[in-house]
């Protein structure tokens, strides 16, 4: 760590400003949330200390919480499953497309768009046929009338409809990351492999995939944590409804804190979310360290 033989206090001096900012912006709010999560508090008036009651109620009595956790984890699983797919497209583009910038950029467009716009766009696509919903009209046109439904107002379909939009939006993001990762692999390796007779799929299997694992890991972690925090798109499209069927942890936290005026309770949900994020990151990291050791 200290290869330059710089005195420790100099390092501290340079680290301090950024560290202070980081502590102020990240740790202070987290500690404040831990503190408020032990109160029965409406966010405005007097606080009443209740210890761990909020957590106990959350885990044992809250009928919305566990389904919300399930939705969140499903969200995470789906967005992680998407990444190998993104990697696959990235290798294809890398191998077959001469000037790939246009392709990658077009995949990336949805990522730049504001979530509110995406939400409104997909809302009109998902609309019931009577309101001109595109998806339903297409299904009707294909003679699949029995498949049509009001996607966002159907208790079982709504959550999947939302997953799909998120996957659609972030495909380009992960594609770009994977693609950059692949491009950074030196071409000499491929040339050498070619001489040894490893070409096409073989080259992918023995060169591209092992070398892109660290990038892959970053994508997985980003996808996982991003989907745990998913909130805005759901708020725009369904607001957690109908009847809680699309609530995730973050929307549940928002509803509790701001609509039900239970700030303390909302904070305890937030703390659970933080804990899940931390634990998940540690687990994913450990898993990948094993995988990396095996592959290389």
């Amino acid at each position: 760590m200290n290869a330059l033989k710089v005195p420790a206090r100099t390092i501290a001096l340079f680290v301090l400003p950024c560290l202070l900012l980081y502590v102020c912006l990240v740790f202070v709010p987290i500690f404040f949330s831990i503190y408020t999560s032990t109160f029965d508090w409406n966010g405005i008036g007097a606080k009443k200390f209740v210890g761990l009651d909020n957590y106990i109620r959350l885990f044992t009595k809250d009928a919305v919480f566990w389904p919300a956790v399930r939705h969140t984890l499903m969200f995470a699983v789906f967005s992680m499953v998407e990444i190998p797919f993104a990697l696959y497209i990235a290798t294809l583009i890398n191998r077959f497309v001469k000037k790939p910038n246009f392709f990658v950029t077009s995949y990336f467009v949805p990522v730049i768009l504001s979530v509110v716009i995406i939400g409104q766009l997909w809302k009109t696509i998902y609309n019931p046929a009577s309101l001109g919903g595109m998806l339903n009209q297409v299904l009707d046109g294909l003679g699949l009338h029995s498949w049509t439904r009001s996607w966002l107002s159907d208790k079982t379909a709504a959550m999947y409809a939302l997953y799909f939009v998120a996957l659609w939006q972030y495909l380009g993001y992960h594609l770009l990351i994977q693609f950059t990762g692949i491009q950074n692999i030196p071409s000499e390796i491929y040339e050498a492999a070619k001489i040894d007779g490893a070409d096409g799929f073989k080259a992918d299997r023995y060169i591209t995939f092992p070398l892109v694992v660290p990038i892959f890991k970053i994508s997985i972690i980003l996808a996982f944590i991003g989907s745990l925090q998913s909130f805005d798109m759901i708020m725009v499209m369904t607001g957690g409804g109908p009847g809680h069927s699309t609530d995730v942890i973050a929307t549940h936290m928002y509803n509790m804190s701001f609509l039900s005026s239970k700030f303390g309770y909302g904070s305890s949900i937030a703390m659970v979310l933080v804990a899940v994020c931390l634990v998940a990151t540690v687990i994913i990291n450990a898993l990948f360290n094993q995988v990396e050791r095996k592959i290389s």
Partner: protein
């Protein structure tokens, strides 16, 4: 390595100290500067009043009224500058709550009556306005009893922008197309009409149920009938009844019948309030249950000329159709910590005195909470406006909406529970039980 770690932990500790004391100091600084501010003003020095409001749309009469009065005041008082903070209803609620948590409520803000403003009053964030409404006879301009919804411990804390009731707007042309001669007076008639409209390919009713209060407002009107009169929620709050009461179960059952009859547009739960109203205003649905605050906007819309209103019908032979869902409007309140408390009070006093007059000129006085001088008909108010005024004149009694009566946590359970009825058929008894459990858990 060791030393650097030690330094790091020292730095972290120091950082925490600094940030914590910084946070602690902030409040103190604020209060002292507020004190200085109120002490040194009083002369005609420049004053900026922040006016948070829920009228962001320049096309609506409410926006025009607010801006016309404020601009006139600024002309008369060159030292006063009014700064608008115009937001959507939901955004404003959220922003105000966040501001309230750090005790930085804008000089003038808007709150909802009764239970919804109680938290703010209890936290001492709003200034009592008793002295202000006695000035220039402002108090007497308000309709009798309306200020009670904004009063706690004999102090008035906010002044309403309107006084509304829940009515059914309907499209006369579409009713004719479906061969319906008169608006329904019983719930069975209503369901028959729904079926007749549907048979003609017309969407019978529209609701913006993504914003859950819309369906709840309609549901509460059904409950007002099945309960044979007002007071169900206050009876529950007082422990005289429970949500398992037959009146409540019947109301759930009736709403489900309406949903099953196909009354509402497809995908009702993903359409928000604004989109729902636009749907009706552009003549795509035959009925729309809403508060009379929508009258002005509906009147001036595409379908405006075809629109009429009718009283909500009786349900299972119960209830009085002159009982209404009462919706005392959103109300202007003043921050107790305002730097320019006196100037703000003076402005709001002027504002509310002008409010009925300017609203009348801008053809939006039918739902004002104050007494209006002038003849609506002579001033060219439309037949829809006159119909609404006639209904309002005959109001016998009624109930406030659920979220104005119950605490926020119980209200939220209620709102999603009702939203669920729009997409799923549920045993009414279990809906009732869900309400009762939420009520007991959040007492």
């Amino acid at each position: 390595m060791r030393t650097s770690l030690k330094w790091m932990s020292l730095a972290v500790a120091a950082g925490l100290m600094v940030s914590l004391t910084a946070c602690g100091n902030k409040d103190k600084d604020n209060t002292t500067s507020t004190d200085n501010g109120s002490a040194s003003t009083g002369k005609a020095e420049n004053v900026t009043i922040t006016f948070q409001n829920i009228y962001p749309d320049p096309n609506t009469p409410l926006y025009k009224v607010l801006h016309q009065i404020s601009e006139q005041y600024m002309k008369d008082h060159p030292n006063v500058k009014i700064e608008y903070d115009s937001l959507d209803t939901d955004q404003q609620k959220l922003k105000l709550k966040t501001q309230a948590a750090s005790k930085e409520v804008p000089d003038i803000t808007m709150v909802n009556p009764a239970a919804q403003m109680k938290d703010f009053v209890d936290a001492g964030l709003l200034a009592p306005l008793n002295d202000m409404i006695d000035k220039n006879g402002l108090k007497d301009t308000f309709q009798k009893g309306i200020l009670d919804y904004y009063s706690f411990n004999n102090n008035v804390y906010a002044l309403p922008d309107g006084n509304n009731i829940g009515v059914m707007f309907y499209n006369k042309k579409m009713f004719q197309q479906a061969g319906i001669t008169a608006p329904p007076t019983t719930f069975d008639d209503l369901i028959a009409d729904v079926k007749a409209l549907k048979a003609k390919g017309i969407t019978p009713m529209v609701t913006g149920e993504k914003d859950t209060w819309t369906g709840s407002f309609l549901f509460m009107n059904i409950l007002l009938r099945t309960n044979n009169g007002p007071g169900f929620l206050s009876d529950v709050a007082a422990g005289k009844k429970t949500f398992n009461d037959p009146a409540f179960v019947d109301a759930v059952d009736s709403l489900e019948k309406l949903v099953q009859a196909g009354a509402f547009q497809d995908g009702a739960t993903s359409m928000d309030y604004n989109a729902g109203e636009t749907f009706f205003k552009s003549g795509k649905a035959a009925m729309y249950y809403m508060g009379t605050w929508a009258t002005g906007a509906i009147d001036q819309s595409e379908a405006g000329a075809d629109i009429g209103v009718f009283k909500f019908p009786t349900v299972n032979g119960k209830g009085n159709s002159d009982d209404y869902m009462l919706a005392p409007g959103s109300a202007f309140a003043i921050s107790a910590n305002s730097k320019h408390l006196q100037e703000t009070k003076d402005f709001l006093n002027y504002f509310m005195l002008q409010y009925p007059k300017v609203s009348f000129e801008l053809k939006n006085a039918v739902s004002v909470a104050q007494k209006v001088d002038g003849d609506f008909k002579a001033a060219g108010y439309s037949s829809l406006q006159m119909e609404v005024a006639a209904l309002k004149a005959a109001v016998k009694g009624g109930d406030l909406s659920f979220d104005n009566t119950m605490n926020p946590a119980t209200s939220q359970t209620h709102l999603t529970s009702i939203q669920n009825l729009f997409v799923q058929q549920v045993d009414p008894k279990s809906v009732a039980q869900e309400h009762q459990s939420a009520f007991e858990a959040n007492k």
